[in-house]
C-alpha cells in the first residue's frame, strides 16, 4: 500500500509530459494544394477589410473559392499554383494584396489604362532638379528660376529627419510657393505623412477617419475613428501656396499624404487621380513558404469618403509627352508654377 501511494505521488510528476504530448497536433498542416489554398482563402475571408465596400465590384469570395480551388487542382507545378493563387487575390482589385514567393510577387495592376504622367528624366533635367540639386534624406529639392521651391519625394520608404525637413523649409522660406512632387511614389512608412504635413499647419485639423476589422465577418468593422493632423515642431511653411503633384502611381502612404494635404486650405492637388490604396496591410503566410499581404484597416478622408480607388486632383493636368521629350518640359510642374504665381 505504501509503495502504491509513493508511486501515485511520483507519477504526478510526469503527468505534464503526457499532457503536452501531441497538444499542437491541430496546428500541424501538410504542405499540399488543399491546405495552402484553404489557409490563403480563409485568412483573406476572415481578415480582409474591403469585402463589404467592394461587394458590387469584385467577385463573390465564396464563388472565388470554388472557382479557383478547381483551377488549383489542375495546376501541374508550384509556379502555376502561385499564379492561380495570385489571380484569385487580384479579384479583390487591391494593390495592397500580394502573394510573395522567392520567384515573384503577385500584384494587382492599379495603373490600368491611366497615363504615366511622369518621366523621371525630365525632372532631373536642368530645367528642374538638374545635376546640382540638394538632397536631405529622401527629399531632393531645388529653388526654381521663378523663386518657387521644388521638392521631389519618390518613396515614403526613404527616410528623413526632422532636421532635414527644417533645413529644406528654411531654404525655401522666402519663396513664392512650394511644389511637392510625389508622382511615382508608391508609399512606405505612413508615419512620415504627418511628419511632413504637420509643417504646413499651425492648428490641429481633422484629416480623415479610420476603421479596423474587428472580427471574422465581412461586416465586422469598428466605428469610424477621427484622425487629426497636429502641427509639427521645427520650421514651418505657412500661408503660401503649396502644390502637391500626383499621378496614378501615387499609392498607399503617398495616397494618404495627398489626402491629408488636401485638408490644408493653401494646398492644391495638381495632376492626375491617385492610385488609392487606403487599406493598411498586414501579413500572413502559407505552409509552402509563400507570404501574404492584405488590407485590414481602412482610411477615409475628412468627408468620410474612402480613398481606396484614388483621390481626384483639384486641378487636373496631364503630361504633354511631346514637350517632355523635346524640351524637357513637365507640363504638370508648369501648371503648378502658374497656379502658384497666380496666388501671389
Amino acid at each position: 500500500m505504501e509503495r502504491f501511494k509513493t508511486l501515485i505521488l511520483a507519477s504526478l510528476a510526469i503527468l505534464p509530459v503526457f499532457l503536452l504530448n501531441g497538444c499542437d497536433d491541430d496546428l500541424e498542416v501538410d504542405n499540399d494544394i488543399d491546405n495552402n489554398f484553404e489557409i490563403l482563402w480563409k485568412t483573406v475571408d476572415e481578415r480582409y477589410c474591403f469585402f463589404d465596400m467592394k461587394k458590387d465590384s469584385i467577385m463573390d469570395w465564396n464563388y472565388a473559392h470554388d472557382y479557383y480551388l478547381a483551377k488549383a487542382h489542375r495546376c501541374k507545378s508550384m509556379e502555376e499554383l502561385f499564379y492561380t493563387f495570385g489571380d484569385m487575390l487580384n479579384e479583390l482589385k487591391d494593390g495592397h494584396v500580394n502573394l510573395i514567393s522567392s520567384f515573384d510577387v503577385s500584384r494587382y495592376d492599379i495603373q490600368g489604362s491611366y497615363k504615366d504622367n511622369f518621366i523621371s528624366n525630365v525632372i532631373y533635367s536642368d530645367r528642374y532638379l538638374g545635376r546640382n540639386y540638394r538632397k536631405a534624406g529622401g527629399l531632393s529639392y531645388k529653388l526654381l528660376g521663378d523663386n518657387i521651391g521644388y521638392i521631389y519625394y519618390g518613396s515614403f520608404s526613404d527616410g528623413f529627419s526632422e532636421d532635414n525637413l527644417s533645413q529644406v523649409l528654411s531654404y525655401f522660406r522666402n519663396t513664392k510657393g512650394l511644389i511637392i512632387d510625389i508622382r511615382g511614389n508608391g508609399g512606405g512608412y505612413i508615419s512620415y505623412v504627418d511628419q511632413i504635413a504637420g509643417r504646413f499647419t499651425s492648428t490641429k485639423l481633422l484629416s480623415g477617419y479610420w476603421q479596423r476589422k474587428t472580427g471574422k465577418g465581412h461586416s465586422a468593422l469598428s466605428d469610424l475613428q477621427a484622425l487629426y493632423l497636429e502641427p509639427s515642431g521645427g520650421t514651418k511653411y505657412l500661408d503660401k501656396p503649396v502644390a502637391v503633384l500626383t499621378n496614378r502611381d501615387v499609392f498607399s502612404a503617398a495616397n494618404n499624404f495627398a489626402q491629408t494635404m488636401k485638408v490644408l486650405p493653401q494646398v492644391k492637388l495638381i495632376g492626375d487621380v491617385t492610385g488609392g490604396g487606403s487599406g493598411l496591410p498586414i501579413s500572413n503566410e502559407l505552409p509552402c513558404g509563400w507570404f501574404l499581404r492584405f488590407s485590414s484597416a481602412i482610411y477615409y478622408d475628412a468627408e468620410k469618403v474612402c480613398t481606396e480607388w484614388g483621390i481626384q486632383p483639384d486641378i487636373q493636368a496631364s503630361l504633354d509627352v511631346q514637350k517632355a521629350y523635346l524640351d524637357n518640359e513637365d507640363s504638370i510642374i508648369e501648371t503648378a508654377r502658374q497656379w502658384i504665381v497666380k496666388q501671389n
Binding site: 509513493t6 505534464p16 498542416v29 479596423r212 471574422k216 503566410e285
Partner: protein, 312 residues
C-alpha cells in the same frame, strides 16, 4: 520525446527504489534524524532573534519550443528554447516557521522556424516572480509546499518578415497557484533531493493587440482601448512543471538536473497564442544562512526546502 520520457521514468524508478531503501532501513535513518532534531532544538531562536535561511538556485535550460501567435502567423513555429534563471526560497521568520517565501527571475530566448523553414520567429522575455509557500508534512517522507506567487513577464515575439505586424508584445502579470512536492532520497551514502514544482496562474492581466490591429494603430491612431485584458483560466490556460533532482557535490553545492515544461494558451481579443517550452535544466543549488545576532550555526542545520516538521 522518447528520450525525455525515458529519463523521467528512470527518475521515477529511482524514487521508487529509494523509498524501498528508506522504509527497510528506517532505524539508521531515524538515528540520523534524531541528531538533527537535537540540533534543531538547540537552535530554537530566542524571541529577540530573527533568522533567515535560504537556498538559492541558478540554472540554465535548453530545449524545444513551440510558438503560435495568430497575430503574426497562422502557422505553428518550432525551434529551440534557452533560459537562464535564478530562484530563492527562505523562511520569513521564526514566528512563522511553516511559511517560506519564493522569488526569482528568468530570462528566456527562443528561436523558431516556420514549417517551410524560410522565416524565423524570435521570442525573448524576462520574468520576475515573488510569492510564498506553506509547508505540509505528507506521509512517507514527502514534503509539500503549497502557496501562491505573482509574476511579471515582459518581452516580445518578432516575425520580422511581416510588414505592419512584425512584433507582438509579451506583457502579463498573473497570480499563480503553486505546489512543490519534494522528497529526500537516500542511495547508499549518497543523498538526492527530488522535487516537482507545479504552478498555474488563475487570474491576471495581459497585453494583447486587438484583431488585426497594428502597432501603428496604437501608436499613431491612439486606438489602445482594450489592449490590457483581464485573464483567468477561461482565456489564459497556463501551467508550468519543473521536475528536478539535486545531487550533492562535496558539501559545497548541489547540482540540479531537471526537466522544465511550460504551456501557455491564450485567447484574448480574438487573438490566439500558444507557447510550449520543454527544456532540460542544469543548475547549482546553494544554501545560505543569514543570522542576526551572530549565532553559530551547526553544519547539519536543515535548510528551508527540506524543512520537515516531523524532525522537530
Amino acid at each position: 520525446m522518447k528520450k525525455q520520457i525515458l529519463i523521467v521514468l528512470l527518475l521515477l524508478l529511482s524514487c521508487h527504489w529509494g523509498w524501498a531503501q528508506h522504509t527497510s532501513g528506517a532505524d539508521s535513518v531515524s538515528d540520523k534524524d534524531s541528531v538533527i532534531a537535537v540540533a534543531m532544538q538547540q537552535m530554537q531562536p530566542k524571541a529577540a532573534e530573527t533568522y533567515r535561511l535560504a537556498d538559492k538556485v541558478v540554472w540554465f535550460s535548453a530545449g524545444h519550443h513551440h510558438n503560435y501567435d495568430d497575430y503574426l502567423s497562422s502557422l505553428l513555429y518550432k525551434g529551440d528554447a534557452l533560459a537562464l534563471g535564478f530562484e530563492q526560497s527562505r523562511f520569513y521568520s521564526a514566528q512563522y516557521p511553516r511559511i517560506s517565501n519564493y522569488e526569482g527571475a528568468e530570462v528566456h530566448a527562443d528561436i523558431d522556424q516556420n514549417p517551410a523553414k524560410n522565416a524565423t520567429m524570435y521570442e525573448a522575455f524576462v520574468r520576475g516572480f515573488y510569492g510564498a509557500h506553506y509547508h505540509f508534512n505528507l506521509s512517507h517522507g514527502f514534503l509539500l509546499r503549497a502557496g501562491a506567487f505573482t509574476n511579471i513577464d515582459l518581452g516580445a515575439r518578432a516575425l520580422l518578415i511581416n510588414g505592419n505586424n512584425p512584433v507582438d508584445a509579451i506583457a502579463n502579470s498573473n497570480l499563480w497557484l503553486s505546489a512543490i512536492l519534494s522528497y529526500r532520497l537516500h542511495l547508499g551514502r549518497f543523498s538526492f533531493f527530488l522535487r516537482n514544482h507545479f504552478a498555474t496562474p488563475f487570474v491576471g492581466v495581459m497585453f494583447s493587440p486587438k484583431y488585426t490591429e497594428t502597432y501603428y494603430d496604437m501608436a499613431y491612431v491612439d486606438d489602445y482601448d482594450g489592449n490590457v485584458v483581464g485573464t483567468w483560466w477561461g482565456n489564459r490556460w497556463q501551467w508550468r512543471n519543473d521536475l528536478s533532482v539535486d545531487i550533492p557535490l562535496r558539501r559545497i553545492a548541489n547540482f540540479r538536473f531537471g526537466f522544465l515544461a511550460e504551456r501557455a494558451v491564450t485567447t484574448v481579443n480574438k487573438v490566439e497564442t500558444r507557447d510550449m517550452h520543454l527544456s532540460f535544466q542544469v543548475g547549482i543549488v546553494k544554501k545560505f544562512y543569514t543570522f542576526k545576532g551572530k549565532q553559530n550555526i551547526p553544519s547539519n542545520y536543515i535548510y528551508p526546502t527540506e524543512w520537515n516538521d516531523s524532525k522537530h
